[in-house]
């Protein structure tokens, strides 16, 4: 399947890449455009040109916060945010390491934490992410301020994850079947 079609299919056809007429309104409103190697409009154009490697290895797809400003403002209803999400899925499926390492670590740790209790324990997810990305020490003073204000709960016993693990296993079985 051509790269563009793959992106479109994974986004549930929300990312209508071929309708993009490169007005760059998405890039203009994106809060992270100045930090991206490919700005949202360039990501859209690269997808159309089949520049698969460039897109899947970009920092842009991992820096995207999913804020939806681009999708909200696109005059062509192209939904670049959905294309960014589809590109993240394809990159992981191909075994391409997220080019913004911290974000890949965070997303993985997040879902792993859900498997314990169905819900996440926010302080554990933050702590583990910060530990694995070498930011733990800097984050301790703030963590302590939150503890004394009662905004950090002790981690719950991992007893409530059964319903999520069942769902997760059903998803895995379904995806293998495809």
């Amino acid at each position: 399947m051509a790269f563009r079609h793959e992106i479109e299919a994974l986004s549930g056809h929300a990312a209508r890449v071929n309708l993009c007429f490169q007005c760059s309104k998405c890039s203009a409103g994106c809060p992270l455009a100045d930090k991206m190697d490919l700005q949202p409009a360039q990501v859209m154009h690269s997808i159309r040109l089949g520049r698969e490697e460039a897109v899947l290895n970009s920092r842009a797809i991992w820096l995207c916060l999913g804020c939806e400003t681009c999708s909200a403002r696109c005059p062509q209803q192209v939904e670049p945010a959905a294309a960014m999400n589809a590109a993240r899925i394809i990159a992981l499926r191909r075994g391409i390491k997220p080019s913004v390492k911290e974000i890949g670590v965070y997303y993985r740790g997040f879902v792993d934490n859900m498997r314990l209790n169905g819900k996440i324990h926010d302080a554990s997810v933050a702590g583990i992410t910060q530990l694995l990305t070498g930011q733990l020490i800097e984050s301790l003073p703030l963590a302590w301020k939150l503890v004394v204000r009662g905004r950090v709960k002790p981690p719950p016993l991992p007893l409530g994850g059964g319903r999520f693990r069942r769902l997760y296993n059903n998803v895995l079985a379904k995806e293998k079947g495809h």
Partner: protein, 296 residues
């Protein structure tokens, strides 16, 4: 009307004061809410980044559960949870084959689920105006605030179908009903950096610095929010933001539910004011007292 309530993970942790104040406010307004039993995390951006099916099934588990409970509405105070629910519900509503696939994973039916709403959508409706105006017990007419809606309460419009995606008004309306001075400003729907506070805090500091600049420019005493991530980012990083802007910054950031509850006479501790990094109590007390002095 039966209202189901989905607090979400943040409201059990870093944003516990949003949950406390939301519940107190509903009690005060005599709105009965029922906690959704056995709810699971909405999956945020993490679940859909790993697998599209997981990204739909995780939020929809809660929607299917709410349907099974027979709620007429499901209330989600976190705008990220809200967005993931509404986005996933729209996807399966438009595609019967996809819905069947998700139903098989969930082992629950999904047809005709209850609408999912932000508490602002419930409370800013005309029907609540007399009840909210009639509940006011503290005069906050000297308090000047800007309302910060962030990303997902009304964006993207096709999914959220609530308020105006570029210039939302629901929170402005609600706060004006309790007498607060609501100022106009350009930051209403800009992004705070969301979950990047745990991963790339520098980005959050950059984005929040722009918001504080705009709020100060508008002459605000405080920023009022309706999302746990917006609150966490704006409340907890003001020292770093002050260093970046090189001017002192201590601006209280409050949930709309805290301001409404305070205006309705609820005590500050019951609304979780003591949990903030930037203590809002001196500001709120000063604004109330000033008014009493002016009148006395």
């Amino acid at each position: 009307m039966r209202y189901g309530y989905y607090p979400g993970c943040s409201l059990e942790g870093i944003s516990v004061e949003y949950d406390e104040s939301m519940r107190r406010l509903f009690e005060r307004l005599e709105v009965t809410i029922e906690d959704l039993p056995d709810w699971i995390c909405c999956g945020t951006l993490a679940a859909p980044s790993l697998s599209p099916l997981l990204g739909l099934a995780t939020p929809l588990w809660n929607v299917a559960r709410a349907k099974r409970e027979g709620y007429d509405r499901l209330i989600a105070p976190c705008s990220a949870c809200l967005y993931h629910f509404k986005h996933a519900a729209k996807r399966v509503a438009e595609n019967a084959a996809l819905r069947a696939e998700v139903e098989a994973v969930l082992e629950m039916p999904l047809a005709a689920p209850p609408p999912i709403i932000h508490p602002l959508e419930l409370l800013a409706a005309d029907a609540f105006e007399p009840r909210i105006r009639g509940s006011v017990q503290r005069d906050l007419s000297d308090l000047k605030v800007v309302c910060y809606y962030g990303c997902h309460i009304s964006r993207p419009a096709a999914v959220m179908q609530f308020d105006d995606p570029e210039n939302p008004q629901s929170m402005d309306r609600l706060l004006s009903w309790v007498g607060v001075q609501v100022l106009d400003w350009p930051g209403k729907v800009d992004c705070c950096g969301a979950h990047f506070s745990m991963i790339k805090p520098g980005i959050v500091v950059d984005l929040c610095a722009r918001l504080f600049e705009a709020a100060l420019e508008a002459g605000a005493d405080a920023i009022v929010v309706a999302c746990p991530m917006c609150h966490a980012n704006l409340d907890t990083r003001q020292d770093e933001i002050a260093a970046k802007l090189s001017w002192p910054l201590r601006m209280p950031v409050l949930y709309f539910s805290q301001v409404l509850g305070y205006a309705m006479g609820l005590p500050a501790e019951r609304l979780g004011f003591q949990r903030h990094i930037v203590d809002p109590v001196p500001l709120m007390v000063a604004k109330c007292q000033q008014r009493m002095k002016d009148e006395g």
